[in-house]
Symmetry: C2
Subunit: 768 residues, 2 copies
């Protein structure tokens, strides 16, 4: 069991139980908010009927998706099980992998269930006032936020307690944390399927509905005469809600798990040679990200309760209310971080292990600074996202203006904007990496094993800081689609146009607050992926240890053989040298090329998938318009079900290949190019994927809002040729911002996770 | 002077004179072809007048561009001169830099001059037959091809002789070859300005002319009533001809120079410790790329003469004639390579230096195999390019088909196609890198300094092989724009539509053969950039030597100091370890991020530049259509000059910022992040830039040909809504394939060149 020392007041081994308590707290509040929402009136019979339609379609899709995903999971679990039998992996992996996937899927499922119940209720509440609408929508978004963090912390705490009980190795913390990373792979796999499948579904329906309805027949969005309307609204739920839930579960859990692993490895040497003091220190480094996340849950709930205004509040007050919630949570977590770090590391002093002497007396505030760096980077990226994608600023206005010369210039200027917009996020992440690294290792520029591993821990904990208040930031993100769907419901039920205006206002409001949330998500994905690189090398070490234990010696690379002791004592830097993971090694360079390519090919596949599925939808909608008599006059009901079925089928068929590619490429790279090739692949994928993701998200966002800007009455307004040109931009932007772009964040991490889990295979068999 | 040994028949030091002779040969044939072309009849008075218009506009633009470029060159030369005074660079650099820029510009200038004289003559010849048209256009393209290779070999041979005479250092070959790389920087700088400026010019005019003329007023391409027509034709010359000339001069010279430098460094140890045998071996390694290129000139000329058919030949025979020329040259160079290598290395055996024993008896055929690998890779990439961009194949046909659902799906499917199309080129380059590396080092997988440097030399020589027959492959590329312009001339002069059909056929023919040429250009750019990475480290070594000579010790990085002897003896691998250029170093990772970002930001800037300049053109054309009475009826002449002026001004203003950014970012990265950061930057830029370039070129090509496919009568044919949708794709594709995409290839290498030249600064002062 865990030993403790130094901190006199509280026994350190209570921390996993604190995490468990935080998890229960989050889930309880999610349940309360859900019950509150369900008590609201769902409105007229027509509203109820439409909501039921959407709910049914969404659940039907999710069921289909899970069927496919379950097959993939079972196959992978069997492979992992076989690997554990042959000693290439430990016996926990296959099961941990399954729980990660299960919880990630569950987060999406609960979020979507809530959203589909909330949309009609939000529309109905919006009949009274903007504020009532916000309350219902936002609290429903909060359900999703709290479910995600609650389930993640549940998985983390329970697994930690279980593994802590069963694993007795001398190097136990490293083994526990790297094993736990494999449930990260489960979450990533699930998230990728959810994002890609949901993204294809929603955009096929959206693009299909828009192309025929808006462009060809000039009927408004969400018009009940359009056969693809229900599918479009279903899509919002399965893509923007369920997909996002699984995605952020993965990000959140991934950042915590990666940082725990980095903490374990940074102090592994101390733990093995430094007696109880060293072991406790390592334990505390592992606990720090868990504690920050747990406190973040509490602060998120406080933030959620701060989001309220007086009845009759205007847009500005509502925005103020939302910002108050997220900003308060962010400021409090900053303060709390210093408190947590002081609680953990406030009593440290100089530690001596053998010849090495490490001064840890400043560790508490130095590590806290890393968290502050992460938070600031998230804010800057969020602001930059807002600047480039909001119609309140020049860039998007210029895209709108370029509609004066037709759709081609809208596309060119939108692509140009997106490409330029990558500069600030990349530079910010670059500076954050360096600063978080330097803060955490006590500002040591010199490159050596100790400074490196402590610095990497800082990068990881910065990512955890970014995501610590996910409970509330996700709420501000998730209520947007709910408001969007409420608008659809209002339109289809023929409610007063004023109601639609209110839901549109809520949606627009959500876009602004969501920009910040996206900044945190993107930034944390980059930092987490970096942290996973180090975990990969750590896993290589474990795999080599296993090989050396059975064979006596471990073959590192051509011409280099190590004894078991050498493997065990080797640092990250030693591995870099032994494996020649430097930029002159052609194998590394080839890996980088393939990684860069993977990001593009993956996007190309998902873009084409949306194109193909949308085309089928367009044909079906056209067919219905031409064969069902009276449909355009509103006298005959369109066949909604058929459109839902087309999107479902399209998404199911199309999501498989890109997702499986994301799993296969790292495995093949490992088997052919070995460890240096895999590290090249991960870096190439990370750098290109990150930049490509920012580009696609921002181009897509700018096109969307440029269209809205024209609709607001600029450059000719709704129905003008300029408007049509911006609709083309918006349509192209749909797969950019909602399918390919967000999937990239998951792809990056999934490739790392796969490499980590497959490290045993790479080590024992590789061609070069 | 050069010493020689072993080869009994010919004195090895004659090689630079062979290169000089090859250069004179190329330039002489260029002159002969030029004179032949000038003897042709230019046609009717109207044809002459239009050609004169275009010529005047093109020359006026080039003059303006050179004015701006000269200022940049003077500033940079002064900086290099000052650096040489402070010992950070040697005294030759500033002047070598200028000659590189001068010759690169000259290649573009001559090529463009020829093209502007050839267009009316091609149109006139096409009045007789397809074959006559081809002959004039192709021979004019050959002028460009031969001028490019002739000037490059002139610069290479003269500089080599000069430096060989003056430099007497023990390490002279390394110093000579790395000094010569700096004229590569001059060529790259000039090429970037020419590509970016010319690309913005041509696409602003093209997009502007199409958007108003074709889309709004439904008048055909190149119609004399369109005020932007002359500007459009001028653009073809300054962008597609002058820009391409400067670009390929840079690629060609760059690959030779980089490989010479790699050859010098691979055998530097032998040269210093192995006596005369070692020195001769090093010399021969330096000479090999020069010799391959020289023989390539001869084979290109033979190939050019093979391009002829009987009078009355159809398209198929013409294609056969072109392919016969390029294929024969390619096959002959393969055979010749084995001959050259046997001549150089056929007598080598085991060499012993100190304890090291290297078996070089198989070197001649092993190195030859690297060249074959390069050639094969070029062919595969070319075929893949053709598959993805030709309307004879499914991918482009599918893009055309997606026009049934409007412009948005054309854009989505074109982007998807481009992204997917990156897979084959990247995998091919990856395999080629590994194979060229392994062939050249005798199939040694083990990673050590000797294997590495010989392997890198193989990668470089593969690139040289790819470009060795540039004389003819460039001819097949460059005659396309000439035919295009001939078509414009025919249209504007009101010639028989049959003539236009013939020039269009020639243009289409050119597209097919050019695909292969592009494959070689793209592939060689990636390999050359890789070779430049190694040259960068070599230059770092020289810079450190200089520092150590003045201070006694050289500070490598924080905590590492080296004596001068240690610097001199250090290998590439030693430098990787000393500078910690591994994938765990956060500084390297930040560099990779910034490199990936640079590719996107650079494209964003050039895309936006085209968008802005095109918008100005659209406004001007619209203004003329509405204010000049009788213009649409052909009764009043449009104000062509004004459109020319708008493009000129737009290009000049817009090319400056992206080009200067490409120079500044590597310098700033060096000063802030130091050597590991720069290497990260170069790799990130190379990988992302390469993939992005392939994506943009192929998307653009596919859109262009999808439009042509519809125009050929598919999916509704010309004038249909589907056609309009594909025109939107074509317009977006214009900056993709002719501005941003091709500029990326230069950007990648320019950043490496700048880093190489600025190595002295990076070594002496850096923040991290």
């Amino acid at each position: 069991m865990i030993n403790t020392h130094i901190i006199p007041l509280i026994d350190i081994h209570i921390v996993p139980y604190i995490v468990l308590a935080a998890s229960v707290l989050a889930l309880s509040f999610a349940f309360i908010f859900f019950k509150q929402m369900m008590k609201e009136d769902e409105g007229t019979d027509l509203m109820k009927k439409i909501a039921a339609h959407v709910r049914k379609g969404a659940m039907a899709y999710l069921k289909q998706q899970y069927k496919v995903v379950i097959i993939v999971f079972v196959i992978l679990a069997v492979i992992f099980f076989l690997m554990s039998l042959s000693g290439m992996q430990n016996k926990w992996v296959w099961f941990a992998f399954l729980t990660g996937g299960f919880f990630s899927g569950l987060a999406g499922f609960f979020g979507m269930k809530t959203a589909t119940y909330a949309s009609a209720r939000t529309a109905n509440a919006a009949r009274q006032s903007l504020n009532s609408g916000l309350k219902v929508a936002f609290r429903s978004g909060a359900v999703m936020g709290l479910v995600v963090v609650g389930l993640a912390l549940l998985d983390v705490s329970v697994w930690f307690l279980v593994l802590d009980h069963f694993i007795t190795d001398a190097n136990k913390m490293v083994i526990i944390t790297t094993t736990m990373l494999t449930f990260g792979m489960g979450a990533s796999t699930q998230a990728l399927f959810a994002r890609v499948g949901g993204g294809i579904y929603t955009k096929a329906a959206d693009v299909g509905a828009d192309l025929v309805g808006k462009t060809e027949f000039n009927i408004p969005e969400d018009d009940p005469r359009n056969p693809a309307t229900i599918a479009d609204n279903v899509g919002d739920n399965v893509g923007d809600v369920a997909g996002m839930g699984a995605d952020l579960y993965e990000s959140y859990a991934g950042s915590i798990l990666a940082t725990m692993a980095l903490g374990a490895s940074a102090f592994a040497m101390l733990a093995q040679n430094g007696g109880e003091v060293g072991q406790t220190l390592q334990l505390k480094a592992v606990f720090a990200p868990m504690l920050i996340a747990s406190v973040g849950v509490l602060l998120s709930i406080i933030g959620i309760f701060l989001v309220k205004t007086k009845e009759g509040a205007g847009m500005k007050q509502l925005l103020g209310a939302l910002s108050r919630g997220t900003n308060t949570a962010a400021i409090l977590i900053t303060v709390a971080t210093f408190g947590i770090m002081y609680f953990l590391f406030g009593n440290e002093s100089v530690i001596k292990v053998g010849d090495v002497e490490i001064d840890l007396s400043n560790m508490w505030w130095q590590t806290s600074l890393s968290v502050v760096v992460g938070l600031l980077a998230g804010v800057i990226i969020g602001k930059a996202t807002e600047y480039y994608t909001s119609q309140s600023y020049k860039p998007t206005q210029k895209v709108a203006e370029s509609s004066k010369t037709g759709p081609a210039t809208v596309i060119i200027s939108g692509l140009g904007l997106g490409m330029l917009s990558t500069a600030i996020p990349v530079i910010t992440v670059g500076v954050a990496i360096v600063l978080a690294y330097l803060c955490a290792n006590g500002f040591q520029v010199e490159f050596n094993a100790t400074n490196l591993s402590r610095g990497l821990y800082g990068i990881g904990i910065a990512a955890v800081g970014m995501l610590s208040t996910l409970g509330i930031t996700l709420a501000t993100d998730a209520y947007g689609p709910i408001a969007d769907n409420a608008g659809g419901n209002a339109e289809m039920s023929g409610l007063d146009p004023e109601v639609r205006k209110r839901t549109d206002a809520l949606d627009a409001l959500g876009n602004t607050t969501a920009a910040t949330g996206k900044g945190f998500a993107i930034g944390s994905a980059a930092l987490t992926a970096l942290a996973l690189l180090a975990s990969y090398v750590e896993e290589i070490k474990i795999a080599l240890t296993r090989v050396a234990e059975s064979d006596g010696m471990a073959q590192i690379t051509k011409g280099v053989e190590w004894t078991i002791d050498k493997v065990k004592d080797a640092s990250l830097v030693d591995f870099m040298q032994a494996y020649n993971v430097n930029l002159m090694n052609p194998v590394v360079l080839v890996g980088v090329f393939i990684g860069a390519m993977m990001a593009f090919v993956f996007c190309g596949m998902t873009m084409n998938a949306v194109g193909r599925a949308a085309q089928k939808m367009v044909e079906e909608v056209r067919r219905q318009f031409s064969t069902i008599k009276g449909i355009l006059e509103g006298k005959a009901e369109p066949d909604y079900e058929r459109c839902v079925a087309i999107s479902t089928k399209g998404a199911q068929r199309e999501m498989l290949v890109p997702s499986i590619l994301a799993i296969l490429v790292p495995i093949l790279t490992g088997v052919i190019l070995g460890v240096p090739g895999v590290l090249g692949l991960l870096i190439g994928g990370l750098a290109t994927g990150f930049v490509l993701a920012v580009f696609m998200a921002n181009s897509g966002g700018a096109w969307d809002n440029a269209k809205k800007y024209v609709e607001e009455g600029n450059f000719g307004g709704k129905g003008s040729d300029n408007h049509k040109a911006t609709v083309v931009g918006d349509t192209v932007g749909d797969p950019f911002k909602d399918t390919s772009g967000p999937s990239l964040n998951i792809l990056i991490k999934l490739m790392s996770m796969v490499s980590i889990v497959m490290a045993g295979l790479t080590v024992t068999c590789h061609l070069l």
